[in-house]
Symmetry: C2
Subunit: 388 residues, 2 copies
């Protein structure tokens, strides 16, 4: 039978960065913007359920985040579920929203991703981010997320001869893209020389290889494909959704140079999709560190193992290249408010596939892939979008 | 069309109480027991996805709970989603698992509820539980969850003349039931006089009106109804699932004596169910405080407003009464490991409807309702079960 699909019919995005507003205000701004964006409007009373992806909801200063969203979104007694999967929280929340519609249980669903990070003291933030990594073998030994990705980068360099210039090229490209995204935290061009000369955080990763600490929220309004056109002429369908998991500690995984969670998620997303990898016109991948974008290209099946470096260096992943990656600036330049990033990727798919991405528009884009990772690869989601 | 339903085909339950084991070990024990309980066995490789309900995963000492479950459950690269909705975390996790099957996306799903509470210092625990309540109007003013429920109890007494003896009768009944549940934290009969004479926590609620602080984990194995009988001769179907939300702060709600979230959840659960309230043979309700059981009976539609007290005092809700409530001892006597409670209720439905509840068996039970509440009524789930 023709399976019912979920579509995105509206989306709202706060600016990402060091913002004055608290977590409730950020959610409210994103949700209000999402409702305003629905071309023919949709009354809030039609939202039957909501899902919220957030890691720490203001660094554990506040709890019961789902209750806060229920209040701020003004959706009456519609249930709200909080989903937390570290940096992939919103990817998993989106998946829950999609399933609510695919199951036939719901017609209109709200999905929100949120993080308020910059109001926590850095020592506290290091702790509440740190516990998303392995505790026994990594955190208590002093290994941070930058350190974990640095180990993967070193292994990748050893296995494939990946040059530092390829990592730098990711940062340079994503910063260039960020200058075209008014929501991006960094809207400043950087050079390869600056990246290579930046202070080391965890060798071979320097300061400009790392995504920043960010505040932000993103809201998506989903509707069944059978009713989407009553709300907008240009809905964007979710045509594939996959997820995968792996061990949290790097040493427990089969490979240091591949994320199995991404590979499993991608295989699932494409299994019943109406197109294969050759049909995808741009990617939004989880580039929390520059090496992560190279790993993503390979694990998602758009480059052979070790092949992402050359692909990046030759400009294939730039805006205007044959497969633009992170046209919105990615986590690297747009910012990475943990629980919001997966929803922000979907936002980008939505605006791009509607041809509304302005200066960063991927010309003629009709099909996109988004990729969200939690806990250095302990979990991942891959979602496929197509303009209806 | 005949909608695909989820069924419970296996379930495992640790003892609840002050336990020596940590959160990972508790999950592992519950999951292992659940796999052992599947009559004809099910290989772990057949689990396609898992959902984990947990509030704080060891009081925030550890994060990325979904990754920990992926490791402890030994389910390979199957994705795991953590769901957090305060004390209703497992109710919402179960709902996610049910939907994964109803949507046709999955055949076999694992749902786990977990909380490890007793290894946190009490000041820390007070904080990480407290933030699930309203911060601005309640917590910062010193109002605890006991205080919030005490306000509801006082209002209920004022509105309906509910006598303190009715609250005490809930505690006495649930402790009596707990003596018949080998997993219960308290397996000791108490008297009405003891409840009434116990030290006051938040008047009119005394120490014996309050559920305890508990460790514990529960695992459920779900399968599609079209394949359930290949795994067991006695699957238990989920035939209704509803959820609702309300404001977090009591003062923002329409009523002090009703939980709108429960009422909305119940209405949804029964909307497409194959039976109405008269078909339900026992209830598992969220009795975090004795008043909560009376509210639940009324909000779920099994008693008129103000009618639950008489129903309880006349013994209708006791084992052997016309509508047994909390035959497993409820949160009050069985214990309340926050994120596990919703799954524990489903466990009870499973064993009761299979006729395997031993000394606490509700004779001839074929249909049951479970009810899980988060944040003093900010969210609620209602789930209906029927023996297939």
């Amino acid at each position: 039978m023709a399976r019912r699909r979920a579509t995105v019919v509206g989306a709202g995005h706060t600016r990402f960065g060091v913002l004055p507003d608290g977590p409730r205000a950020l959610m409210r701004q994103a949700v209000d913007a999402a409702f305003r964006s629905v071309d023919r409007g949709v009354d809030r009373s039609r939202v039957e359920e909501a899902f919220l992806g957030t890691l720490g909801f203001s660094g554990w200063q506040l709890g019961n985040a789902s209750a806060a969203l229920a209040e701020e979104a003004r959706i009456g007694h519609a249930p709200v579920t909080r989903v937390e999967n570290a940096c992939a929280s919103a990817g998993f929340a989106l998946r829950s929203g999609v399933r609510a519609i695919e199951s036939g249980a719901r017609d209109v669903v709200l999905v929100v991703g949120l993080e308020k990070m910059t109001d926590s003291p850095s020592a506290h933030r290091r702790y509440w981010l740190g516990v998303s990594g392995d505790t026994e073998w990594e955190r208590l030994a002093g290994l941070t997320f930058a350190g974990v990705y640095a180990l993967m980068a070193s292994a990748h360099m050893a296995a494939h001869g990946t040059p530092p210039e390829a990592l730098a090229a990711v940062a340079v490209k994503n910063h260039a893209n960020g200058t075209k995204n008014p929501n991006a935290q960094f809207q400043k061009v950087i050079t390869r020389e600056q990246v290579l000369a930046a202070p080391r955080v965890a060798d071979p990763l320097g300061l400009l290889d790392c995504c920043p600490v960010s505040d932000g929220a993103v809201a998506l309004i989903l509707a069944g494909d059978d009713m989407a056109r009553t709300l907008t002429d240009t809905p964007v369908a979710v045509v594939g959704a996959g997820a995968g998991a792996d061990a949290l500690a790097l040493q427990e995984r089969d490979s240091l140079t591949q994320l199995a969670a991404t590979r499993v998620a991608a295989a699932e997303a494409f299994r019943h999709a109406p197109f294969d990898r050759t049909g995808v016109q741009f990617l939004e991948v989880h580039d929390c560190f520059t090496i992560a974008e190279l790993l993503a290209l390979e694990d998602l099946g758009f480059a052979d193992p070790g092949g992402a470096a050359a692909m990046t260096l030759e400009g294939a992943t730039a805006l205007g290249g044959r497969l633009p990656v992170n046209p919105d600036g990615g986590l690297k330049a747009k910012g990475h408010p943990i629980g919001a990033s997966g929803a922000s990727q979907a936002y980008e798919a939505f605006v791009q596939l509607r041809g509304a991405a302005g200066a960063r528009q991927v010309v003629g884009a009709e099909r996109a892939l988004t990729h969200n990772v939690g806990g250095s690869g302990a979990s991942a989601t891959v979602t496929l979008f197509e303009r209806m």
